[in-house]
């Protein structure tokens, strides 16, 4: 609170020339405001906690996982979770094992790793392409705008899952291929959002001021226009992380994503699908993990959107 009142009482309003100073000043209060809003929202706290746990699991997977994810144990095949009242159990395998005797808990932990790697890299790549396209389209207008946005329109005419499946079928399954394909299904949304922000910002006085002072167009784009698109970009990014996790799981589930040998939640569901008549626990865990993760990213997106009060 104290910080905000001083800002309000600041007797000398910063001049246009000292843009950096105001930025640093407002950034400090922004962090504090963000923290306060975060602490006030149980839902957002829960979501960040989920994300935190996932990152810990992903980073330290080899140390946390009780078994190597690919280790097969012939004597311990198809174990049930230890709390199950029917079927064989073994205390060394908390959630049981799959048909090849691999530990479910360990595969879930390694699955978190692959899920986050694919989700973050595809969102960073897709976001980069989309933001660049949006900045160019919005700032330069004319034919650049027309070409980029019609391309985005065309892509948005198809459900992303359909395009993703077709692209993966043509490329063949693989982690790098999957990241590229998911990134390419997402760029259009960034491009649209960033473009509309740029159109709003580019006629504002401070941009005209920068132009009048002789700033080059790239400097204006990256130094003055781009920072103003960050808020809406963060919102899009957290929702598209949720989408990326879904696509990774769905494409892997249908055999066109991460190669089946690598443990991911989608691949585990695909394996579980064949044995649901014997073992109804098998499809439960990966599905719950996907749901909670997607939910967390959606809620973080909601929170960021409310915090910055952006409309998309």
């Amino acid at each position: 609170m104290a910080q905000e009142t001083t800002t309000l009482r600041d007797p000398v309003p910063p001049l246009a020339g000292s843009a950096d100073q105001t930025l640093a000043h407002s950034r400090e209060t922004l962090t504090q405001r963000a923290l306060r809003s975060l602490l006030a929202s149980k839902v957002a706290m829960f979501s960040f906690f989920v994300l935190f746990v996932l990152i810990i699991l992903a980073v330290f997977a080899p140390w946390i996982a009780p078994h190597p994810p690919g280790e097969m144990s012939l004597t311990n095949r198809r174990l049930f979770p230890i709390f199950s009242e029917t079927g064989r159990t073994n205390p060394a395998y908390l959630l049981g094992t799959d048909g090849l005797g691999r530990d479910i808990v360990s595969r879930m932990i390694y699955g978190a790793r692959m899920t986050l790697v694919v989700a973050f890299s595809s969102v960073i790549l897709g976001g980069f392409i989309g933001v660049m396209a949006g900045l160019l389209a919005g700032y330069f207008g004319k034919w650049i705008d027309a070409v980029i946005m019609r391309l985005a329109d065309l892509q948005l005419a198809f459900p992303s899952l359909l395009l993703g499946l077709v692209a993966m079928a043509l490329l063949g399954s693989g982690v790098v291929e999957l990241v590229i394909v998911i990134a390419l299904t997402q760029w259009a949304i960034y491009a649209r959002v960033v473009r509309s922000e740029v159109l709003k910002v580019k006629e504002l006085e401070f941009v005209q001021g920068a132009r009048a002072l002789g700033a080059g167009k790239w400097r204006i784009i990256f130094r003055h226009v781009f920072p103003n698109t960050v808020a809406s970009m963060l919102v899009v990014a957290s929702f598209s992380l949720a989408m990326a996790i879904y696509y990774e799981a769905a494409l892997s589930f249908f055999g066109l994503g991460v190669p089946p040998a690598i443990p991911t939640w989608g691949n585990m569901l695909a394996d579980a699908r064949d044995i649901i008549f014997r073992d109804f626990y098998a499809p439960l865990w990966p599905g719950v993990a996907i749901t909670i993760t997607v939910l967390a990213f959606n809620l973080i997106g909601d929170w960021i959107r409310d915090f910055f009060d952006v409309r998309i």
Binding site: R150, L154, L161, L162, V166, A169, L170, A250, T291, L299
Partner: protein, 311 residues
């Protein structure tokens, strides 16, 4: 009218572009001959087939032939089913509709009242329940929900069959096969539309004209259903139209899990086996559907909100 015509023109361009995209994806990036013969075929065999099917001609010629055929509805013959693609697609489409139409109706029937009540009784237990359910419903991946429904209702409880489509037998037997796919398909649009209905309704009931209507003493149901709902429906209609596009992605997933012989499953199988003519036709169909739905949404927009289209 001009507005609508303009939109139709734009739509036509999107469809032509989509056909081009389908051509590029399927015939330039992927090589149809290797896909038919497989990697094991000798080079001679492959070349003979290439000549037979006309894939050895210049791409421009192939492109125009593809486009000419596509515009007339001729997408060639399916590699796997050995029959013309378009009739195959139509036949499967009608089976998809058997579950997609009830699913959409179900989503509308639940989401409209749920959204309205949620918005009017903001922060009540009902609102809270509806919001949490919608949030979780949106987060749970549809293929997993479908599997869990099979596990619960078919395996554990044994109430409903787990998969397939029944054509013989009594009415109940036929319907019993449809229930799980319909619900699985409806969940995502239901969750999304409920959130949408709630937020648009919340926006509308805070508008000045609602306060005016209440201030002049109009009865509450009248204010809600005549003044508020009509305006809240404007964004809702557009979004519903776009949700139908997502129903296609949904039916690809749901039909595959429940082994329902519709267009979604046909597309999924064709993609996995690279049955190129079917995939090309499917992509074109989806683009065309998207354009038509957008057009319908635009027309609804004009009908519901007279301000649109006049400016």
């Amino acid at each position: 009218m001009r507005f609508i015509l303009q939109r139709m023109g734009q739509g036509l361009i999107v469809i032509l572009a989509a056909l081009t995209l389908a051509f590029i994806l399927m015939f330039v990036i992927g090589d149809p001959v290797t896909m038919i013969t497989g990697a094991e075929a000798s080079r001679d065999q492959a070349e003979r087939l290439r000549e037979q099917l006309g894939f050895n001609r210049p791409l421009v010629v192939q492109y125009f032939e593809f486009m000419l055929g596509a515009v007339q509805g001729d997408f060639g013959v399916s590699y796997r089913h050995q029959q013309p693609v378009l009739p195959l697609l139509w036949e499967r489409l009608s089976r998809s509709a058997e579950i997609a139409v009830p699913a959409l109706l179900l989503a509308l029937l639940v989401s409209i009242p749920a959204g309205i009540v949620s918005a009017l009784r903001r922060n009540s237990a009902i609102d809270y329940t509806a919001r949490v359910t919608a949030l979780v419903g949106q987060a749970a991946p549809n293929f997993w929900v479908a599997i869990m429904m099979i596990v619960l209702f078919a395996n554990i409880l044994g109430w409903l069959p787990s998969s397939g489509r029944e054509t013989d037998g009594g009415l109940w037997k036929q319907i019993s096969h449809m229930i799980l796919p319909i619900i699985a398909l409806a969940l995502l649009p239901m969750a999304y539309l409920t959130r949408m209905m709630r937020s648009t309704m919340l926006e509308v009931i805070n508008e000045d004209y609602i306060r005016t209507a209440r201030a002049k003493g109009a009865p509450v149901p009248r204010v809600v259903y005549i003044h508020a709902l009509r305006n809240a429906m404007i964004p809702y209609v557009t979004i519903t139209a776009l949700q139908i596009g997502n129903l296609i992605a949904g039916s690809m997933v749901v039909e595959s899990v429940f082994a329902w012989p519709g267009m979604g499953r046909l597309l999924m199988d064709s993609i996995r086996t690279l049955d190129i003519p079917v995939v090309a036709a499917g992509l074109s169909f989806v683009a065309a559907l998207f354009v038509v739905l957008n057009l319908i949404a635009d027309i609804c927009y004009v009908l519901l909100d007279p301000r649109v289209g006049k400016s």
